[in-house]
Subunit: 324 residues, 2 copies
């Protein structure tokens, strides 16, 4: 079997997830992990090197999997790595995707590389399903529900409230709203109708809990438009019960065809580990990047541009026989 | 806007569904419908011609949508139309797909055409989701549930029972089985555990209903391995309550990643009209066939080979901006 030699850039939750996902796919070989930290302090299953040494692996690594964050890492690393390697990333700042696409596309194209950008589940699998359902049912309405899962942005926001020592926020879809969409009722749903926000807070000794709760529940943009619950817990309980990283959600499209027949398409994920799942999607798209590069394609690609068969280790013939 | 000029071959439920779906997509123009019947007897929104006249439309029609059946129509029409036109079809005899692919691929390739075969929802969207989920979660188990919907094969089988005047059979997923899979229990499910079979029978005057019920419930291959219910109704009730063609189902994959975290991917359809939905999928893939032909691609293609972005009337740039 041809093995695809890959490297990981960034060794946080996502990078560790990619390392684990590669172990489940025998057609991959992990060559090295690159980090901005002092590599001596990092232990992993393969050599860990400083990110500045990546260039030495230009002839060894087929695809570099970029596991940095979208705020500051990827805008810099995406184009700079696309000059040296085929790349895959999970750039997820929706509003900046066109701009990010353009800079990575230029860098990849000039250097004869393929760069799959913005994959994962949202953007990624959710985007694919929104797009496909809209193309199939042009007369219809789309609904996306996220959760139950941790929102990093909202967790950060509650931790900035005075008197909060630590905390976590779960986004939860409203069951009744999901049920109405599934029943083909095509409801008009406000922000409040769609999601609940559930906060678990460790307060600082002697802090005014009522004031903290009020400040969170009324926080504009983050919580004011939602039904929000705040529960105070101990640091131990936070660690014991809220260290997992579950997530998921549903993309639904409810449309009509012909003589007003209701047709519903639904895609859903229920994930015990959000970073491990995102990592698994990245690894499947790494296989696609490798195959596209073998076909001499170049430039930036998104999930919309890639035939799904390329995600599989199976040949086109095998896929037709076994999975069509 | 560039319009895609299409024709329909075969004017049964699926062909009529395609005619309706085209009305929902302003980038399509339906030129003509071709039938094996006497065209004078058929009324439609565009000219209806005998199938033997299709060749005259070689320069007019961009893509021909083949709406015949898989048993006898498509094995003959698939390759013969691929010689003259770009085509799209819903060939659904799973076991014969490799053979059908080969003959259509040869005909299309030799004549510089693109032929999208075996699209719809199963094969089609369900196949895509099975394949994608397997590629993302290689360690896992796949479950497909069909229904609630009419099975044509099983309805035919009950109508062949002596004393049965008319009848219909619904395949129904077992709720508890679906719930176990969704809960990540990874159950081992027998045929009986997964689906129920629900039959509505119009008996002939004076027929022995107990014997009919026994014969249906014990029928090998079709019913013996299932929990089957038989309800006798009047011809009027059959017509009033069982003329719709609902269907749907769920494709689930329950897998594990990393430190034994359960990850569940689900795709589901709930369709009030099975033929109209299949027709809508065919029309979206017709758009893809047209774009592939414009890229000078040739040969047979399946859902695995086609970038999903091609299903949309939107440009790649627009898709990245609005839907990624």
């Amino acid at each position: 079997m041809t093995q695809i030699t890959v490297g990981i850039v960034g060794y946080g939750n996502l990078g560790k997830g990619v390392e684990k996902a590669i172990r489940q796919n025998s057609d991959f070989k992990l060559a090295a992990i690159f980090t901005r930290r002092e590599p001596q302090g990092v232990s992993a299953s393969v050599p860990v090197l400083h990110i500045s040494e990546a260039e030495k692996y230009k002839e060894i690594i087929d695809v570099m999997i970029l596991c940095g964050g979208s705020a500051t890492d990827l805008p810099e690393q995406g184009p700079s790595f696309a000059k040296m390697f085929n790349t895959v990333d999970s750039f997820d700042t929706h509003a900046k995707i066109p701009e990010y696409f353009a800079i990575v596309d230029a860098a990849a194209r000039e250097n004869g590389h393929v760069s799959v950008i913005s994959t994962g589940w949202d953007p990624g699998l959710f985007s694919l399903n929104r797009m496909m359902a809209e193309a199939i049912l042009p007369e219809g309405k789309e609904y996306t529900f996220w959760g139950r899962g941790v929102s990093q942005g909202h967790s950060d926001a509650i931790r900035r409230v005075d008197g909060v020592k630590n905390g976590i926020q779960y986004t939860i879809p409203v069951d009744e709203a999901v049920a109405k969409v599934r029943a083909g009722e095509n409801p008009e749903l406000s922000t409040r109708d769609k999601h609940l926000r559930d906060c678990y807070i460790v307060a600082e000794e002697g802090a005014d809990k009522l004031r903290i709760e009020k400040e969170i529940v009324e926080m504009p943009n983050y919580f004011a438009d939602y039904d929000t619950t705040v529960t105070f817990i101990s640091e131990k309980e936070l660690k014991d019960k809220h260290s997992a990283m579950p997530h998921g959600g549903h993309v639904l499209r409810s449309g009509t065809t012909g003589d007003n027949n209701t047709q519903i398409i639904e895609f859903g994920l229920k994930l015990e580990s959000n970073p491990e799942f995102t990592a698994s999607v990245l690894v499947a798209y790494t296989r696609a990047a490798y195959k596209l590069a073998k076909q001499d394609q170049t430039g930036a690609k998104t999930v919309f541009d890639i035939p799904l068969g390329l995600l599989s280790p199976k040949s086109a013939e095998q896929l037709r026989k076994e999975l069509l």
